[in-house]
């Protein structure tokens, strides 16, 4: 059975959401890994969860990236291990250099907490292979700093290498300014690295797992990961 490690930093607050999604909804082996640990043990996937690690002091994720466990995460990623950063986890992966770019305050300075539509821009990744390219999915966001930025060369590199996995869009799948909740460059909601084994996204797939709380589109991210690992899908 696939084993997923969920990192816990001081200030993480979506670690239990991720654990619930993986363990109880997907029925997989999940465990928490405290940020002071230096050994990830036997793990197939590392989830860097959302929250406010270190109170978002200095910059979101800037201090968490130096937590002892992150050295093991970088090693794990460099060996091809799957790493999924959600929200603050995405910010930590940007700060750690595992993903390119940086995150600014939302352009309107408001904390955005709502459900948004995302267009799947690429199904060629271990995190999106269960989606059809172009499909529109509905997933919640909850962040104050999700305004992704990189320079012109950085954006071109992301596009040239098919690294943009999700863009904010309207219900019809049109990528518009009105559907961009935070001012993110080119409506970017999620990207992967060049090796495609590290993904960061601001929206919360782990909070879109059960119809009773609004939708199940997030399950496809975890189903993709299982497919990539060659693990059986839950019933």
């Amino acid at each position: 059975m696939a084993a997923l490690s969920i990192l816990v930093f001081p200030g993480s607050n979506c670690d239990h959401d991720a654990y619930h999604a993986v363990k109880h909804v997907m029925g997989l082996d999940a465990r928490f890994v405290w940020h002071k640990e230096t050994d990830l043990g036997d793990t197939d996937v590392v989830i860097v969860p959302g929250g406010f690690s270190y109170g978002d002091y200095l910059r979101c994720g800037a201090i968490a990236r130096f937590s002892p466990v992150m050295r093991s995460v970088v090693e794990f990623a460099n060996k091809g291990g799957l790493v999924l950063g959600i929200c603050n986890g995405f910010q930590i992966l940007l700060e750690s250099g595992l993903l390119p770019g940086a995150m600014l305050h939302n352009a309107n300075l408001k904390f955005a907490c709502k459900r948004v539509n995302l267009r799947v821009e690429s199904s060629d990744s271990p995190f999106t292979n269960a989606f059809t390219k172009g499909r529109v999915v509905n997933v919640p966001i909850a962040h104050g700093e999700g305004n992704y930025v990189t320079d012109a060369d950085g954006l071109k590199a992301l596009e040239d290498h098919d690294q943009i996995l999700f863009r904010y869009c309207d219900a019809d799948g049109s990528v518009t300014d009105a559907s961009n909740p935070n001012g993110s460059l080119s409506n970017i909601a999620g990207i992967c690295n060049r090796g495609r084994n590290v993904m960061g996204m601001m929206p919360h797939p782990e909070r879109a797992m059960e119809a009773a709380i609004g939708g199940t589109d997030g399950r496809l991210v975890f189903a993709s990961v299982l497919a990539a690992l060659g693990s059986p899908q839950p019933a």
Partner: protein, 82 residues
């Protein structure tokens, strides 16, 4: 012992939403002469070093490694004898 005074600002090409909001508020207050408001960070720290140059090198390293994110920020360092 030296004191390093560091100013970190968003690069000119990067939108500064906080600076923009403060700038608009100043404009509403009637300060027509004020524009281009940019908000950054001020860091002051003591540095034990044998020379001003060494203190500067250490402060620069601290900025590059942690205090600033050079994807979006610039920094300036001033070293004073403490």
């Amino acid at each position: 012992m030296y004191t390093a005074i560091i100013q970190i600002t968003l690069r000119p090409s990067i939108l500064d939403p906080k600076g923009k909001a403060a700038g608009e508020a100043l404009s509403h207050l009637g300060y027509d002469a004020i524009s281009n408001v940019r908000i950054g960070k001020y860091v002051r720290m003591s540095v034990a070093a044998g020379s001003e140059a060494e203190a500067h090198t250490l402060a620069k390293e601290a900025c590059e490694k942690l205090l600033a994110n050079e994807v979006m920020e610039d920094f300036t360092i001033t070293i004073e004898a403490a």
